[in-house]
Point group: C2
């Protein structure tokens, strides 16, 4: 037995290290795994000749067929080779273990003592028990076909429930046929970006203040983003006309024209043709002002005249504390507005659930991009949210969240008045964040001081589009997400904020 591998020291080590049990139904599997690991780990070098199945079986006290089967498995997988006259050998392919990748770059929220970054609701108040109840009812009642490959627009139960809710609560004119469920706002924006690009659009208007991540989605779709100015009346969309008429102008400019004539229309560095605009009409993010009624009308007029599309980001329209929320812009002209809503602020971002209410023609274009089957959105959360809406649990949750966030906002304003009288909260009493106007020139130092205290908070400048013209809105301010901390940490977070304010 000098050639025996199983009784050699390394063979014994293999038997012990890998816990090969010589009995039991998992024997073949255990032996196969152990051998595979030995090859993978390099303990059995490439080219090594293995003992015959008879020898190894005798050594291990198991049936010969078990060993033969294990060898056959590993030959089939490519770990071993079996050649006539050469026996069974370890195959010539050294396999290296992959090295762990560094975790991708993320805001290191785990290292903060306090977090006031805007954009996330209080995750501790997610209604877990109610959600589980709804989920039980939803899954119990779901037809089998709901678990299969589904309609690209999402489950009809959820689209029907949303149509009723959005019409009632947000003044949206919604038919279930024109609602498309998606994995949150970013997914919706991605789909619309692809639709616009397929139409031949190259430019889209956005607000001067907003989220980089959203602009990046549009850029990735092949669109250039052009910022519109924002003031106390919301976003000034009057420039859209000039940006839209330019396509015609530019076409004329390329045709025969008197030599030396100067070009007509806006500056040559502006967009060539804007066919869509992305807006946050109910509560400008992050500035916090609603879009003035005259501007709502102007924007809808622009869309009608030019065939343009308004993309309405209604991210926190449910949260207004001083009065009933302003209805959605979409209600003014459902044929010109793509209304986008999300469960990320009202429930939790982790659900990855959002919805679009679309004009009829756009619904077809979005489905063309999304695919004839829904490849994106899990049905269980869709069915649960439908049940949550229909049972009234969603309204109950919103009412209690509204009370909690309103109290926080009031406490924030009161704390400012007491501890930092030079700082004022601007914007309407709504949403999950406030903009704190700082004395000129202090934003960067306040943000740095906060970082030293391990308090996470964002400066307004970080939400400013890089192509924005310098104007009066380029002011020093903090964007404070008062919705972010859990209840138990709220008052200490507020104290920490007051300590870093001038």
């Amino acid at each position: 037995m000098a050639e025996s591998w199983a009784t050699s020291p390394s063979g014994q080590a293999l038997g012990i290290d890998l816990h090969i049990e010589p009995t039991g139904s998992g024997l073949r599997r255990g032996l196969t795994d152990a051998l595979r690991e030995a090859v993978r780990g390099g303990r059995l070098a490439p080219g090594t000749r293995l003992p015959s199945s008879r020898t190894l079986a005798a050594d291990l006290g198991i049936a010969r067929n078990t060993v033969a089967d294990a060898y056959a498995d590993l030959v089939a997988e490519g770990w071993l080779t079996a050649r006539q006259g050469s026996g069974t050998r370890v195959a010539e392919r050294p396999v290296e273990a992959p090295r762990p990748a560094p975790a991708p770059g993320r805001r290191a929220a785990g290292h903060l003592l306090h977090d006031l970054h805007p954009g996330t609701p209080d995750l501790a108040s997610f209604p877990r028990a109610e959600w589980l109840k709804a989920s039980r009812r939803a899954l119990t009642n779901a037809p089998n076909e709901a678990l299969g490959y589904g309609d690209p627009r999402g489950r009809p139960e959820l689209r029907t429930a949303l149509a009723a809710y959005l019409s009632r609560a947000r003044g949206v004119h919604a038919h279930p046929d024109h609602i498309v469920i998606c994995a949150g706002f970013v997914h919706a924006l991605k789909l619309l970006g692809e639709v616009l690009r397929r139409r031949g659009d190259r430019d889209i208007a956005v607000e001067t203040y907003g989220l980089d991540a959203h602009w990046d989605v549009l850029t990735h779709s092949g669109l250039r983003t052009h910022p519109l100015p924002v003031d106390q009346l919301g976003t000034d969309t009057s420039e859209l006309d000039a940006w839209t008429s330019k396509r015609g102008t530019s076409r004329r400019a390329h045709g025969p024209s008197p030599a030396g004539s100067s070009p007509i229309g806006p500056s040559p560095t502006g967009p060539s043709h804007v066919g869509a605009v992305l807006l946050t009409p109910a509560h400008q993010f992050p500035l916090g002002v609603p879009l003035h009624p005259d501007r709502r009308a102007t924007t809808v007029d622009w869309a009608r005249r030019t065939g343009g599309l308004i993309i309405e980001d209604d991210y926190d329209g449910e949260f207004r504390y001083d009065r009933q929320p302003v209805g959605a812009l979409q209600g003014l002209d459902p044929d010109r507005v793509a209304y986008l809503g999300t469960a990320s602020k009202s429930l939790a971002p982790g659900l990855r659930l959002g919805w679009m209410v679309l004009p009829a023609a756009l619904t077809r274009e979005v489905i063309e991009v999304k695919g004839t089957i829904d490849w994106s959105c899990g049905v269980l959360d869709q069915l649960t949210l439908a049940e949550f809406l229909n049972s009234g649990a969603y309204d109950r949750h919103l009412r209690s969240a509204r009370l909690r966030y309103r109290r926080r906002r009031d406490q924030l304003v009161a704390a400012l008045a007491e501890h930092a009288p030079s700082v004022h909260a601007t914007g309407i009493a709504a949403g999950l964040h406030a903009v704190l106007q700082l004395p000129p020139g202090t934003e960067q130092s306040v943000v740095r001081a906060a970082a030293w205290q391990r308090l996470g908070v964002a400066g307004l400048s970080s939400f400013r589009h890089e192509d924005a013209a310098a104007d009066a809105t380029a002011r020093d301010a903090l964007v404070v997400g008062y919705g972010t901390p859990p209840d138990h940490a709220w008052s200490s977070t507020l104290d920490a904020l007051c300590r870093v304010l001038p």
Copy 2:
């Protein structure tokens, strides 16, 4: 009160139709909604002057402020206009209801009496009760941060559980850091297609038989798909070498060369450079053969020599009935293979849950495409699947599903022997579908006969790549998804199948 609108016949109709209650806390909302609907529905025409808030309040017997607030809401939303000296009027913007879109084109499974289309497991056997239990445990134990914006690779709980499971059950070399959760196989393929396109790839090799939907995803990413032949040993990947070396050849061809020399290398209509290949090694879809060990080795060798990428679609690797499944190709070289798995066959497509096990460098590229935050996959199902795997419920479910599908396969083979002896099931005893070899020239007539009987079944030719060369594999056959029907319909479905076979 001749001018009074509320007491006019149409005003009364409005009050009755819309169930305005003159008391209660929802009064303002009710009035606002009723007025909005009246404008939207055209009952209040554009330009119509509304009664003063005092008049309407008196008519309805409610507080004047309530009416003033409702008017203000509707002005803010753009439904009404309020101008000094002109009173409150209905705004000049007729709003049309969107027309319902036709449902997008789908296979009309609802009109079938029996469904044997492959690709869907028995949805009636989804383990609802077990899933709900796991979901309760998962959500109860989840940290709050799990509900926020998360790691683009997906929840660590699920990645850790999958690493252990895939290593144990499929011989995959998996580290949680290199697993990326996605919304099913199509989402994974989309991400990989984008990565390849960003690398500058324009061509990808696929199998001659497969799914149109998958090829379309790659095409949409900007890649041309080139079919490799498939025979009894699985997909023949030997052509890859020629397709890969061609880039070098073609570069040389563009440089100085003796005039009149004929080009070296494959035919000029072939791909210019193939950097990746999409395969179903465990169980070729739909033909049902496993990739031969020699070909596994050849393919990995190709990937190593050329820096190529193997995309391994392990869609049903858990389901083998005659022996332990062949381990994943990925185990042979984790640095060259992107392993793709899915819960769509083992649990249900509606979950939209899949996973990729990636080489380290590719993980970073995929994250660049997917985004620095997970915008795609809901956390609740991820946490539930992790719990399902860790608790052993997944293995239990698979074992019972394996028994059920195996029995169906055996019954199918027995029924063929008895009722259609000229038809043979080919491929290994595995998966959720079988290929039934038909007498030459009969495929189309059998599929048509099935359609007449409202039996859904697919002909093999519908899975054939349009660029595939005519060869011996272009045979007449049916692809029968015996996993698709629910248990109670199985035996009648089998009868229906036998009736249409020659």
